[in-house]
Structure formats: structure tokens, C-alpha cells
């Protein structure tokens, strides 16, 4: 029975750049455009970075400097769990008197899940609890840094040349204020930063944002080209005959998590600092309003702005499905929940013939023709035991039950195919009061907001036919 409540059974259609069918719980609602938005038709922006284990906030500039890794926390190289610091007492000679020994605390890193310890790779115990652990240095760092500098300079030069060409082509009556500085916004690989960000899936060049200051003398950086070697180190003689020591071989995942070294042996797996996670805010691409803005504090899970679809759009859920038989009419019980506090009127329509949205349905559906009225959501209703009857006249053929802001209603389903899953689709039309509309100061005594009617395309997957 609980499988019917799974969100994937009821899909709402989002008419964005692409037509996507997603459960309502994964959608956002832009109340300025009065449209549903999915994750693919909003722009994602990074809000803040934080470490998932110590929950420390980090400004973006610092995060970039530390390569998006936390300074204090480590990941187990074996199972990627968070490492914890453990202390042992070891006898150590006193600095004054070498003959006597005293107990000193020594710290080592250990994983609680796979029991890996820092002693396994030969890292010595440290005498400070935190801050003593160093990541091994990449032997190629210098060469890589030099290459990056050289290519940054090259990119800058090419950009300036291209902009100079563009400026030369422009008409002479361009304003003088259009100087070299403003051209810097146009990036090497894009049409402009704003447009580039809006296009989903467009790659962002890694060199973006780094620019030489005007006036800095352009030092010529030269690099040596990589040398191709003719001779390669020969394989050791017992390469084919030596038995493989399986516990020593690292898995691909362990190896690729350390792209600097990619050790083949487990005794060279050093722990790395933990990756930072980020909080993101979502913005509607059409009206540029924020749809979701989380709190800045990493310990808080609340949102400053949370325009999720479930708090504005009535939600359809499947309650019970009888045995579905080919070409036989059966009644399916659905529930409709009203998320807002005022009364909502919902009417359902079947999809017309040749509806371009109706591609997945494999059964005919007959929806109730009357309008369904949903009571508003009353937060105090659960505490009020003497709930007054709501006074709605319900047709018992259509409405099965009514409970505060939820009703159960029947639809009739006639499966058209002999095999396969039964999918039905219909249109849901409801009234929506836009509370974000500006208040007109002159008219008083009138309704504060007007209702607009929204129509959504809903698809239900009712499962296989009864055998």
C-alpha cells in the first residue's frame, strides 16, 4: 500500500525549455510568472561553502584558495568516510632527564568504518590534536603552475586582440566610455557572462575571472615543451610471475580520488582533506526572482525563500487501485490536498484528442465533471477536537471522503492495451491567489488579490494490469 504513495507515481508536466515530467515534490513554483519550474529551467548559483563534518563556513575566495577542501577534516582514503582523531599514551623521554619516561599523548587518524589508521601508511603520530597533518606534495606542482600562468597570459592576449578587432569594426560614433575595461566582461569562450550562465550545460572556462591588471607589464613567460622519451623503463622481470597481493591493490575509485598520485598500492594511500559542500540558491530564468534561498548558517536547514510547488499547487496522490483489466472500466481512488489557506476550486479535464502533451497514456480516463471544492489548510485544525462540519455538499459518486483540506475522489480508468503498465493523464485546473501581487493603495474594501486559473498536466502511473 505504501508503494502507491511514492512520489514517482504522479508526475506533473513542466513547460520549460524542455518538457519534463517530474513529481510535484521536486518542483518549484515561480509566483511571479505563475508557472512551475523544475531544476533544469532555473539557474543554480553558489551561496556558500561549508564542510560537511565540522560545519564550518568558508567564504568563496578562501574556498577557491584551498581548492574547495576543509582545513581540519580528512577523508579516509580507503572508504571515504570521515576520519576521527584518536589519542594514545606513549612513553616518551622527558626533555630534562633522558632516563625517565613519561606518558605523552600521541594522536593518529582512524576511520570508524573500515578501521584504517594513519599508521597503516607509515604516517607518524603527531603530538598536536589538529593541524599537524600534512598532505603529501604533488611532485609536478611547479610545472603545472608554470603552465597555468603561461596559458593565462596567452588567453589574455588573445582576448585583447579579439576585442581590439571588434572595436575597430564598430562605427565611429560609439561613446568614448566604451573603453577597454568594459570589454573585459566579454569572455574568451562565451557570449557574455550573463547569457553564458543561463544556458544550461554550457562549460565555464577555468580561466574566467583571472585577469591581468591594466598597466602591469606583460612579462613574457616561456615554457619548455614536454620532451618525448624514446626509452621507457623496462618492466620488472617477475611482472608476469609474481602473485598478486590482492589486499595491497587499490581499487579504481580509491586511486582516482587522488589524481595527483594515483597510487597502485594501498600502502601509499594518504588521506586527503575533505571536500566542501555548497549551498545553492535557485533563480527563475525568466523573471530573475529567487525561487530558493537557503540560510547562510550551515547548521540551519531552513530557507529564507522557499517557493516550492507543494505549498502552492494542489497535490494529487493515488490512494487505492482495484484490479485493472483490459477494456474494463475500474474506479481508482485519488486524493487531492490543498496546500494554501483559502478555499480552492479544482476542476479536472480529460486530455483532448491529439494533445501534444499526452504521449504516455495507455488508458482512457473519465474524470468527474463537477468542480471539486477543497477547504483551506487550517494549521490549528488538528488540535481542535470539536471540528465543525464543513458544510460542503458532496456527490457520493464522485467524492469518497473529505478530511480538513483533503478529499478523496474517484476516476474511472479503461485500460486500452493488453499488456504493460497503465498510465493515465488529465488536466488539473485550479484557482491561484497571487499574494505577491502589489497592493493597490487606492481601492479599499475590495478583494486583496485576484484569482487566476492555472492548468497543469498530470500523469499517473497505475501499475501493471491484473493478471
Amino acid at each position: 500500500m505504501a508503494t502507491l504513495l511514492q512520489p514517482e507515481k504522479v508526475l506533473y508536466l513542466v513547460r520549460g525549455e524542455k518538457k519534463i515530467r517530474v513529481p510535484l515534490s521536486q518542483l518549484y513554483f515561480c509566483r511571479y510568472c505563475s508557472e512551475l519550474r523544475s531544476l533544469e529551467c532555473v539557474s543554480h548559483e553558489v551561496d556558500s561553502h561549508f564542510c560537511p563534518s565540522c560545519l564550518e563556513n568558508m567564504p568563496s575566495a578562501e574556498a577557491k584558495l584551498k581548492k574547495n577542501r576543509c582545513a581540519n577534516c580528512f577523508d579516509c582514503p580507503c572508504c571515504m568516510h570521515t576520519l576521527s582523531t584518536r589519542a594514545t599514551n606513549i612513553p616518551a623521554p622527558l626533555p630534562d632527564d633522558p632516563t625517565k619516561t613519561t606518558m605523552k599523548k600521541a594522536y593518529y587518524l582512524a576511520c570508524g568504518f573500515c578501521r584504517w589508521t594513519s599508521r597503516d601508511v607509515g604516517m607518524a603520530d603527531k603530538s598536536v590534536a589538529s593541524g599537524g597533518w600534512q598532505e603529501p606534495e604533488n611532485p609536478h606542482t611547479q610545472r603545472i603552475n608554470k603552465l597555468i600562468e603561461y596559458y593565462q597570459q596567452l588567453a589574455q592576449r588573445e582576448k585583447l586582440e579579439r576585442d581590439r578587432k571588434k572595436l575597430a569594426r564598430r562605427r565611429p560614433f560609439m561613446p568614448q566610455a566604451f573603453s577597454q575595461h568594459t570589454i573585459h566582461v566579454v569572455e574568451k569562450y562565451g557570449l557574455g557572462t550573463r547569457l553564458q550562465r543561463q544556458r544550461s550545460g554550457a562549460p565555464i572556462s577555468a580561466l574566467y575571472g583571472l585577469s591581468l591588471k591594466e598597466g602591469e607589464d606583460q612579462k613574457e613567460i616561456t615554457i619548455e615543451s614536454a620532451q618525448a622519451l624514446d626509452e621507457v623503463e623496462p618492466l620488472p622481470e617477475d611482472y608476469y610471475t609474481r602473485p598478486v597481493n590482492l589486499p595491497e591493490v587499490t581499487t579504481l575509485r580509491q586511486r582516482l580520488l587522488q589524481p595527483d598520485f594515483q597510487p597502485a598500492g594501498a600502502s601509499q594511500l594518504h588521506p586527503r582533506h575533505k571536500h566542501l559542500l555548497m549551498k545553492r540558491s535557485l533563480r527563475c530564468r525568466k523573471c530573475e526572482h529567487n525561487l530558493s534561498k537557503p540560510e547562510f548558517n550551515p547548521t540551519s536547514i531552513k530557507f529564507k525563500i522557499q517557493l516550492v510547488a507543494v505549498s502552492y499547487i494542489p497535490e494529487v496522490r493515488i490512494m487505492s487501485i482495484p484490479n485493472l483489466r483490459h477494456l474494463k472500466e475500474s474506479q481508482v481512488l485519488l486524493t487531492l490536498t490543498n496546500p494554501v489557506e483559502n478555499i480552492t476550486h479544482v476542476s479536472l479535464y480529460t486530455c483532448e484528442e491529439g494533445d501534444p502533451d499526452d504521449i504516455n497514456s495507455t488508458a482512457k480516463v473519465l474524470v468527474p465533471s463537477k468542480e471539486l471544492v477543497l477547504a483551506g489548510k487550517d494549521a490549528a485544525a488538528e488540535y481542535d477536537e470539536l471540528a465543525e462540519p464543513q458544510g460542503f455538499q458532496d456527490d457520493p459518486d464522485v467524492v469518497a471522503f473529505r478530511k480538513s483540506n483533503k478529499i478523496g475522489f474517484f476516476i474511472k480508468v479503461i485500460p486500452q492495451r493488453e499488456e504493460g503498465d497503465v498510465t493515465v493523464a488529465f488536466k488539473l485546473r485550479h484557482d491561484f491567489r497571487n499574494l505577491a501581487a502589489p497592493i493597490r493603495p487606492t481601492e479599499e474594501g475590495e478583494a486583496t488579490s485576484e484569482a487566476i486559473w492555472l492548468t497543469h498536466h498530470v500523469e499517473l502511473s497505475l501499475g501493471p494490469l491484473a493478471t
Binding site: C78, C79, F113, C114, R115, W116, T117, R119, D120, P247, E248, A266
Partner: protein, 191 residues
């Protein structure tokens, strides 16, 4: 309290702390400094169980020497095999151990299951919820972890839980009745 008839005697060495609420049936020998928590079950159906010293058997752990699945208990040609458990092992809450031979310093974590044909040598750790029912000898210092029972070898064996054992041996008698220990080997131990 009526109990089913025991087919053997339970010998608890002096110094062991075995709570009365634990369920020990059959021919079981428990070594010194071993702590058996209440609701632990040690059942010697198809043969005796010998448990060494310094072991820690936590609540709802099940150590059972049962008949192999395809043999009926009434068949005549089944020899009783002794299950032997070494020293300093830890059987965490809710684990099930049917292994016939367990060495020293092993840890069987919560809700792990060890089958009958597995032989744990020393220093092995069977992670939480891992089921090991192959027919093999697990190498020393092996750690079995994760939902896919991945393995790795660690360089040092897990430390014996001496601190925990000392603490429990002091605290448990304050709150539970203990089964009687024996010095000899003939008197049945039931308190």
C-alpha cells in the same frame, strides 16, 4: 521457572561474569575474565562450545553450534564437533556466530553474521551487518566492511578491550545476578 532439560553442563570459570538473564544451553565452557551480557545466547546443539578468556559477548549476540542445514538432528553419523573460541574476542550486540573455530582478538560487529564454514584466525574484524558465509579461512588482521563486504588488511590487530572488561566486571554485578562459577568440573552451574 521451568527450563528445558539440558543435555550438558555449563562450566563457568572463576572470574567470569555471566548474567543470569543470558541463555546458555548445552555443553558450554566459559573461560575466566569473560563477560556475558544479559540476553546473550550461547547454544550448543550439535556439539560443545569452548569459550576462552577475556571475551566480551554483548546483548542479543547468538553463538550457536547448530547442525548443518542439510542433516537431520536424528541422523546417527553426525559427530559432535566442538566450537572453540579463543581469547579477547568481542561479539557485539545482535551478531550471529556459527563459526566453528575463532581465534584471538577478533571483533564481530553488531548484526554481523558469520557462517559455519568460516574460520576466523586472529585480529579479524567482521563489520556491522556484514554476512560472511563462505567456506574459507580468513587471513589475519582482515577487516570486512561495507554493504558489499569489501575486505582489506590492516597492519595491526585490534586492541583487546581490557578497559571495558574491567569496567563491566565491576558494574554488572551491581545490577544483575550472576550465574555461579565453578572451580571443578562436575557441579552444574545454575543460580
Amino acid at each position: 521457572l521451568s527450563e528445558e532439560t539440558e543435555s550438558g553442563v555449563v562450566k563457568i570459570a572463576a572470574g567470569a561474569v555471566v548474567c543470569v538473564e543470558s541463555d546458555i544451553r548445552g555443553d558450554v565452557t566459559i573461560g575466566a575474565r569473560t563477560v556475558v551480557h544479559p540476553k546473550a545466547r550461547i547454544i550448543a546443539e550439535a556439539g560443545p562450545i569452548v569459550i576462552g578468556e577475556g571475551n566480551l559477548i554483548e546483548e542479543q549476540a547468538l553463538i550457536i553450534n547448530s547442525y548443518p542445514e542439510n542433516i537431520l538432528p536424528d541422523a546417527e553419523d553426525v559427530e559432535p564437533k566442538t566450537m572453540s573460541i579463543g581469547i579477547n574476542n568481542v561479539f557485539e550486540v545482535g551478531c550471529v556466530s556459527q563459526a566453528l573455530k575463532i581465534g584471538d582478538n577478533n571483533v564481530i560487529e553488531s548484526k554481523a553474521e558469520v557462517g559455519r564454514n568460516v574460520i576466523l584466525s586472529s585480529g579479524c574484524i567482521v563489520g556491522a551487518c556484514c554476512q560472511v558465509n563462505t567456506c574459507e579461512v580468513i587471513q589475519e588482521n582482515t577487516v570486512i566492511y561495507g554493504s558489499e563486504c569489501l575486505r582489506r588488511v590492516q597492519t595491526e590487530r585490534p586492541q583487546p578491550q581490557t578497559l571495558q572488561l574491567d569496567f563491566l566486571m565491576k558494574i554488572l554485578p551491581n545490577y544483575h545476578h550472576l550465574k555461579k562459577t565453578v572451580k571443578g568440573n562436575s557441579t552444574p552451574a545454575r543460580s
